[in-house]
């Protein structure tokens, strides 16, 4: 089969730090090639070199086995039929779907140079339909759900009728059905001879869809395998350099008193009549599709938004929480799913980030005492073994996994009794993932009540004592551990109740 793309001994460094060294990679026509590696392994950098956002310091890029190419802008790669879907949907909120799809590539009238709107919208219409989705191309993107924005991204890529399609964690914020849909599309394209580079942290997805898989670690090329020749453990080994025998070590903890209870919690358009209890030592899983209302419920409990009905009981006493500060005061902590936006202050150092919730404890006579702060921080840096050059290192220069650890440390330092973890392992590498799971168990052992929100059903099944399934803002299932099955949870999440 013909080679669409060949990268030979690519090296790239940013201000001293080598992001890639001698990485080679190739993509055949009509194949789906998975690109795996822990966070900061260099996957995105490789992708950005292929799309022309970055230029390699060394190494060569060969198209169709013959043409040596060098891309200086994304337009160059676009013109060579390379299109990419980025994980963080990069869309223009205030522009229409159609404009988002064709921005920078609108067809214009030869003489008057004005954009051919009719043509634009009709082409957009076709493309959207080809995905069997129903959205008006004139809709402003800011009115779409995250998933729909992802789809816009995909359509954008298709519009290039690309020979090479790069999917950088396209599934990280899609629901199961949307993922299946996406895979259908991917396979369709594949059958038409398109080569697809597929990046994901969900190994099962890799096995489901990829033909070959290439692993890079710390900017080094580790190897390329046929998916049929390897299994999960082998793959994990390649990624982390060590094997992880047990992904989800569930340790039995005796469940004590109920500590937090919500009764008939409502908020128009988000969730309705939500009631549940969580006990000390319990890990309460929360499943459901993106946008089902899981995060909204958490935010309402944590005081980001105001519930419009129902009540929250803490240790049996009704409490009203109007601000996260009050939640923390009461003993409820929340880890947001997007750490960059809501979790961390990237430009500040680790110390400053971790101590935010307990700043007053670092203060003596009005001044922050660095030594106290250091002591408090070190404890958690060691506990979570955050890999850093020191407590003064800026968080933005940490790897994704370590950033997440810092975010978690911030939750722990608040000494909350109830901890809400929203997608704590989203987009972090397998190694850290295991560490996080370990930690969650530890917390449960220590008698904390934990609400674990996750889109990864295996994770929920592995970790939880009980699982609530949310669908369209309502709790549709409350499963005991003994009744956990992928199918039950999924069908409930999709709203197909088999009662």
């Amino acid at each position: 089969m013909k080679r669409l793309l060949e990268l030979n001994n690519i090296t790239k460094s940013f201000t001293g730090t080598k992001a890639l060294s001698n990485v080679s990679f190739n993509l055949k026509q009509g194949e789906i090639h998975a690109l795996l590696g822990e966070n900061g392994a260099g996957k995105s950098t490789l992708i950005k070199i292929i799309t022309g956002i970055h230029q390699p310091d060394e190494g060569e890029m060969i198209l169709n086995g013959v043409e040596k190419v060098k891309f200086n802008t994304t337009n160059d790669s676009y013109d060579h039929g390379i299109a990419a879907i980025y994980q963080d949907a990069s869309v223009f909120e205030n522009l229409s779907i159609a404009e988002n799809i064709f921005m920078g590539h609108q067809r214009v009238n030869k003489i008057t140079r004005n954009i051919k709107w009719k043509d634009l919208y009709s082409r957009a219409e076709e493309l959207i339909e080809s995905l069997e989705v129903k959205i008006k191309p004139t809709t402003l993107v800011k009115n779409l759900s995250i998933a729909e924005k992802q789809l816009v991204e995909i359509v954008k890529a298709l519009s290039a009728n690309a020979k090479i399609l790069i999917m950088d964690e396209p599934t990280s914020s899609l629901t199961k059905e949307e993922i299946d849909h996406l895979f259908k599309i991917a396979k369709k394209l594949k059958s038409e001879g398109t080569g697809i580079i597929f990046i994901s942290h969900r190994l099962e997805e890799v096995f489901e869809i990829a033909d070959r898989v290439t692993v890079i670690r710390d900017g080094q090329f580790i190897g390329t395998e046929n998916v049929t020749d390897i299994d999960t453990n082998k793959l994990v080994q390649m990624m982390v350099g060590r094997s992880i025998d047990n992904f989800y070590p569930k340790s039995e903890v005796e469940i004590k008193e109920p500590i937090l209870a919500v009764e008939g919690l409502c908020r128009k358009g988000e969730f309705n009549n939500v009631s549940f209890q969580v006990h000390e030592g319990e890990i309460l899983g929360m499943s459901g599709l993106i946008g089902a209302g899981r995060t909204e419920i958490a935010c309402a409990i944590y005081g980001i938004t105001r519930p419009e009905g129902g009540k929250i009981l803490f240790n049996g006493k009704e409490i009203s929480i109007n601000h996260p500060a009050e939640a923390l005061e009461a003993g409820i902590a929340y880890l947001s799913e997007s750490r960059g936006e809501f979790g961390l202050v990237l430009p500040l150092d680790i110390m400053a980030n971790i101590t935010i919730p307990v700043l007053k404890e670092t203060v003596k006579a009005g001044f922050i005492r660095k030594n106290i702060e250091k002591k408090m921080t070190r404890e958690y840096v060691e506990l979570l073994d955050i890999r850093c050059s020191g407590m003064g290192q800026k968080v933005e220069s940490l790897s994704g996994g370590n950033q997440q650890k810092v975010a978690i440390a911030k939750i722990l330092i608040a000494r909350a009794k109830v901890i809400i973890l929203d997608e704590p392992t989203k987009g972090i590498d397998v190694g850290t993932k295991a560490a996080v799971h370990e930690l969650v168990n530890e917390l449960a052992k220590a008698g904390k009540a934990i609400i674990l929100i996750s889109s990864e059903i295996p994770e929920l099944i592995g970790m939880s004592d009980r699982i609530l399934v949310i669908h369209e803002g309502k709790i549709v299932r409350d499963l005991e551990r003994k009744n956990f099955t992928q199918e039950r949870i999924l069908s409930a999440a999709l709203g197909e109740l088999d009662s």
């Binding site: 223009f92 909120e93 404009e99 920078g104 004005n114 988000e270």
Partner: protein, 341 residues
Amino acid sequence: MPSIKNIPEVLTKTIKQREFAVLLVNIILIIIVGIRNPVFFTLENWKDLLMYGSILVFISIGQMMTMVTGGIDLSVGSILAFAGMSVGIIMRENPSFHPLLLTFFGVLIGLGCGLFNGLLIGKGKIPPLIATLATLSIFRGMVVLVSRSRWIVYGDITPGFKLIARGNTLGINNLMFAALIIAVLSYYFLNHTMTGREIYAYGDNKLAAKFVGISRMRIEFIVYMISGVLAGLGGVLWVSRVNTAQASTAVGYEMQTVAACVIGGVSIYGGVGSVIGVMLGALLFSIILNALELIGIVDFWKMSIQGLVILLAVIFDAIIAHRTKEQIRKQRRTFDAESNS
């Protein structure tokens, strides 16, 4: 997804609501003032009003473009004065020059200033607010330097030059004609050319813009250039309208243009803004000034009242925006419980 279906209506509605609101306020104001003082309705008055408004309109349009990219151009007032003063001097030295030639000079000077801003912001990566804050003083200083503290007075203005502002084209006063032309052109440019759309895209999401290969530098050069050119042209028309140019010409005018934009619903976060909105905003602003004149409101109240209007405009916007968000949220899904209750 059931969610999306009903949202576009909601949104278009609110968008209308804003422009509509400005329009409404305009009308109400016109009526009130008209009742208080019939002179308001005289053709004379409207001519003055619009002549004042015209310059504000197209300079505000330039301002809008910079704001759409998420920037701002505080130096328009100084550029206007600089261009006006320079052209005045050129005219004083060579009264024989054709008005159009002089206008061309004005535009050229504006272009130069705009390019300088563009260079600082596009190349030098200086935040627009500060860059233009600095050039505001620089260009203002240049005004006095070139004038060598001799003003351009009525006597220096050639009859031909006076006609720039007072003459008519197709029966419409030149100022308004210019404003209209510029408005139409900008509308076309912003809504029907790739560059125009790229300006919105860039202001909307700079990262995404980078991904689709929109050049940051190009966009910023373009908008500050346009803003400069329009300010330069404005300077010429201004001098031709008031027949004088001095050190303090158009001091603080940038605030008026920003005000017109804000009232017209331009988002200072970038990405949002329409020519029509800005025109209405500028009109509203001119009407207020004119009205205060006519109703004989004591001079000293004017400043506060202007400020109040701007404040009300933005508060109104904020409330509308908040409402929309709530509406969209509440319509994301409906629960049986609610539907039967």
